[in-house]
């Protein structure tokens, strides 16, 4: 018996480390930091003398785009240890590691007549490797901003794993004049407020512009006839077409279907407002709701199978989801206050909304079942959220209080960080974010 015990003890003593300490050291990390990723952009190389200005401009635009997201922070050029004088020269990673630049963007610009091309490479400094392969974009010289946005989109996408949104446009309502005599017209701009153009004049009130899925058309509500009517505007030639409605009916709050062939909107007739769908090709109308309450602000899910809308059928303004073909709806908002203007996220996992509670307006997001509601903003009047193409940023209108109050557009990250105004001359409201440009 003793020998047997001795044998067991010896075996366990020798085999013990095998069981207790075999394999790699295992750790679990649950707490990280939330801070911008540092990046460095040495001024892009000008491959031709004519490209000097464009190279500098594009470099700065890439920095602005990335830093403007709040997810990146530029390492200033004054901290650089080494310079990149040539697009093809080897990168001295140690120099960039020393200044804690996690990403390095190296580029070159070539201008030949009216043709401009830009190419870039992205490096992961700490691994000493290139992230992806080099890319080159070409266009006309006056389109340098788009090429800069595309470079920034590519960098953003490679680092975050999400699509970018820099090379996109926003259609909005431009506002001028005092509140009691405000003039409104449709405008279109780059996501950052540059390149503003107007699509309509100020002769009549326009509301609620909405981009088509591919960005070629805009739906909006016009009071040109004295009654609200829905117009379809071609962005390229600003040609307009009115959605046919019966006399005495008021149509408003339109949105394109995901294929751009249909429009869902609200139609008010005899004091009752319901949601309809109209085929732009055939003009066929389909009524999707038939309740005595007010149903409006429909927004389709990314796959086009469901609609989120607002309704006061419960006695107060709340959010509901139903099939894209109508039918029974389920309520998803249950918090205090009133909910309106829901917009389905391009990712499909969230709904953005406007909430009014206790005299304040908020822009918020919630999951499709109403859970995890988060209010991202709070002010005297925030309303009309619209999603960036990648579902990461929300743009909305904010109006200040008082007779001299003005309306402007803001953007905020869905984390609630990086709230900032869109730089524009004059007032603006009701933005609709278009898709990434081809």
């Amino acid at each position: 018996m003793m020998k047997r015990l001795l044998t067991l003890v010896i075996t366990l003593m020798l085999a013990g480390p095998v069981f207790a300490q075999s394999g790699p050291l295992r750790l679990t990390i649950t707490d990280g930091v939330i801070e911008p990723i540092t990046f460095a952009v040495p001024s892009f190389e000008a491959e031709t003398p004519a490209a000097q200005q464009a190279a500098a401009d594009i470099s700065r635009l890439v920095v602005q785009d990335l830093a403007g997201t709040g997810l990146f922070r530029e390492v200033p050029a004054t901290a650089f240890i080494s310079q990149v004088s040539s697009f093809v020269q080897p990168v001295a990673f140690a120099d960039w590691r020393a200044i804690n630049a996690q990403a390095l963007i190296v580029g070159a610009v070539n201008v030949n007549g009216n043709q401009l091309s830009v190419k870039f490479r992205l490096y992961d400094v700490f691994s000493g490797q290139e992230l992806g392969q080099g890319l080159q974009f070409a266009g006309t010289a006056d389109g340098w901003r788009r090429m800069g946005h595309k470079v920034a989109d590519a960098v953003y996408s490679r680092i975050t794993g999400e699509g970018g949104y820099f090379d996109s446009r926003v259609v909005f309502v431009s506002e001028t004049g005092p509140k009691d005599a405000r003039q409104k017209r449709l405008g279109i701009m780059d996501f950052d407020g540059s390149n503003v153009q107007f699509l309509t004049d100020s002769s009549s009130i326009v509301l609620a512009p909405r981009f088509s899925p591919n960005g070629d058309r805009v739906l909006y509500t016009s009071f040109e006839s004295g009654f609200p009517r829905i117009n379809v505007l071609n962005v390229a030639n600003v040609g307009r077409q009115q959605l046919q409605t019966a006399p005495g009916e008021m149509a408003f709050s339109p949105r394109f279907s995901r294929d751009g062939r249909q429009v869902i909107y609200s139609l008010s007739n005899g004091g009752n407002t319901d949601i309809y769908r109209t085929d732009l090709g055939t003009g066929q109308h389909v009524r999707l709701t038939s309740a005595p309450s007010i149903e409006t602000a429909p927004s389709l899910s990314p796959d086009g199978s469901q609609i989120v809308f607002e309704s006061d059928r419960s006695g107060s303004q709340q959010l509901y989801i139903m099939s894209a073909n109508g039918g029974e709806a389920r309520r998803i908002s249950f918090g205090e206050g009133r909910y309106g203007t829901p917009v389905w996220s391009p990712r499909g996992d969230l709904v953005a909304f406007t909430k009014q509670n206790a005299g304040r307006f908020h822009i918020g997001v919630m999951r499709l079942d109403g859970s995890e509601e988060r209010l991202l903003t709070s002010s005297f009047l925030d309303e009309g959220p619209t999603w960036a193409p990648n579902g990461r940023v929300i743009m909305f209108s904010r109006e200040t209080q008082g007779a001299a109050g003005t309306s402007s557009m803001y953007s905020v990250d869905i984390s609630g960080r990086n709230l900032k105004a869109v730089p524009l001359q004059g007032g603006a409201s009701d933005p609709s974010w278009g898709p990434l440009q081809p």
Binding site: K3, R4, L6, T7, I10, T11, M13, L14, A15, P17, V18, A20, Q21, S22, G23, P24, L25, R26, L27, T28, I29, T30, D31, G32, V33, I34, E35, I37, L71, R97, Q102, D124, F126, S127, G128, Q129, I159, T160, G161, E162, R347, E372, R374, R392, D413, I414, S415
Partner: protein, 380 residues
Amino acid sequence: MASPGTIISGIGHVGLIGWLIVGWGLTSEPLEIQTMDVSVVSGEEFEQMRARTTPDPGDADPTAPVPPVVDETPPPPPAEEEPTETAPPPDPVEPPEAETPPPPPPPAPPETEVTDAPPVEPAPPVATPPTPDVDVSDAPTPPQAQTVTSTITTPPPPDANVHDIVRDEIVEDNSAEPEVVQEEQEATAPEETTTAIVIEDEAPSAPVSLAPATSARPSARPSLPTPPVETASAAEEPASEEQVAAEPEPSEDDVAAALEAALSAKPDAPAVAAGPPMTGAERDSFRLAVNGCWNVDPGSVAARVTVEVGFSLDREGKVRGNEVRLISSDGDQGATNTAFEAARRAILRCQSGGYQLPADKYDQWQDVVITFDPSGMRLR
């Protein structure tokens, strides 16, 4: 002046203390305690035993089947032999063989008058062993035997010395220690036993087989270590001999073999880390070093993905070849890539001059697997 009682008491106490000091009684071997297994005999069985010794033909039902017995699982009857069964013995020997086919279930005694039979010990279902090809009797009845045990002992040879005390046969063994001289003695044969109590009046006139035709047999009781069966004849207990041979007492060679086996196991486990293990503080320090560089974007889809990455460190605490590999993930491809890149950046960025780890425990941390779980940092 002390009284005589006090003096006597004092002398007695002094004597007792002295006896204890001297140590008498303290070095004595503990008394050997003999243990004996007992079984509960039910009232039914007791009545049957009484009936066997004092039969009362008027009360006995001549057609009643053998009542179910509460039994340690008896071994099955050999297929080609005349089977015998034993009833619960007062001093049973456990039938420990797990592969022993269970006994047939107690036949349903619809007419039996016995109602206070102890509950049959529930047995887990077991596969019915193949039915031996034997003659089938309608009512298996054990043969007559005077002693009831849990095991069946075949009748001894006519010239065997039957005795209550079972003794092993002792023969002259030249290989054993020669200085121990034992007087030769003749082996005793165990008394013939059976496993069931049989009422003599119920005994059939003609011998019948105990083997059932088809019946689910309850399983054997949980196996206990098989003690060597102390029977007289080795030829009669071959199974016991095999068990003894299968479990030899470890020798010095066995200890050496265990040492050798344990040592030889090390080359087969290359990941085995030698030396003292990492302390909690050392692990926490390493974890914190990576924490500081793990940049989580709560708004990203990657914030919903947990990734497990692995890498190797050189002795300076730097990642070998800056190679970090993805081991597992619970997200889709895009989110996994983003989460993995964030983890990889964290590991590589914070290594700068090498992670500060105890050099004498290099074997413990040369290979590292880190799970990055952002569940606590998601937007809520």
